[in-house]
């Protein structure tokens, strides 16, 4: 979503994005003229009249589980967004019984918060597990 019109979205997809992504952008490119939606989400930059690079993860119940907002010159990390969605999906699947420690990816150790784990995380989880192998 940006403040551009749907016509400009079409031109961008036709003339540039479709040369990077086969078949063009597969998801809807939303238009927010005037930044009305961006204002509600807190990402509309009034002075510049544009929206910051805001990314919101919204679950199937419509609840915002996470967001990240960057100023315009720095691009995002798609893999990190996917990792976060996988982690939120795992937590949802376990109905909150499991939590995903720092750097968690599918297949890595999860933690089951509870009285027995208090002060014992260091026994089961090592800081090197926060990083990729």
């Amino acid at each position: 979503m940006s403040v551009d019109s749907v016509f400009v979205h079409k031109m961008w997809d036709d003339h540039e994005l479709s040369k990077m992504v086969k078949g063009g952008i597969p998801f809807p490119m939303l238009s927010d003229g005037g930044g009305k939606v961006g204002s509600v989400f807190g990402v509309y930059l009034e002075d510049a009249g544009v929206e910051a690079r805001g990314r919101f993860i919204i679950d199937p119940d419509g609840i915002i589980q996470g967001f990240e907002v960057l100023t315009p010159p720095v691009g995002r990390n798609v893999m990190e967004s996917i990792r976060q969605i996988q982690a939120f999906q795992h937590v949802r699947k376990t109905k909150g019984a499991e939590a995903t420690p720092s750097g968690w990816k599918p297949g890595k150790l999860t933690l089951k918060p509870g009285p027995d784990l208090v002060g014992k995380v260091w026994e089961v989880w090592k800081t090197k597990m926060a990083f990729d192998d």
Binding site: F7, E16, S31, R55, D61, I64, I85
Partner: protein, 84 residues
């Protein structure tokens, strides 16, 4: 789910859906701290909105609530052709 819209000369726009933002009162004494106050918080409902969109050769109308039951990544960006 998403109805197609006709492309006319008027530029289609959308906006928040549901509760109307509180009408601003014209009381000059009110502090102007409202600015930059985001209405979104993790763990809270994402505000619903309607927005025109371009999707695979068509102009359509999209409501965030169309996607209830699915995981959604909503991305804002400064503008088309903005390099990164």
């Amino acid at each position: 789910m998403a109805e197609e819209i006709k492309a006319g000369c008027a530029r289609p726009t959308g906006g928040p859906v549901g509760e109307k933002p509180k009408a601003k009162k014209e009381t000059p004494q009110e502090p102007i701290i409202q600015e930059g106050k985001s209405m979104v918080t993790v763990g809270k409902k994402a505000p619903d909105f309607a927005a025109p969109a371009y999707h695979k050769g068509k102009f359509i109308n999209v409501n965030l609530s169309d996607y209830l039951g699915k995981w959604v990544v909503l991305c804002f960006y400064p503008g088309d052709f903005t390099f990164v």
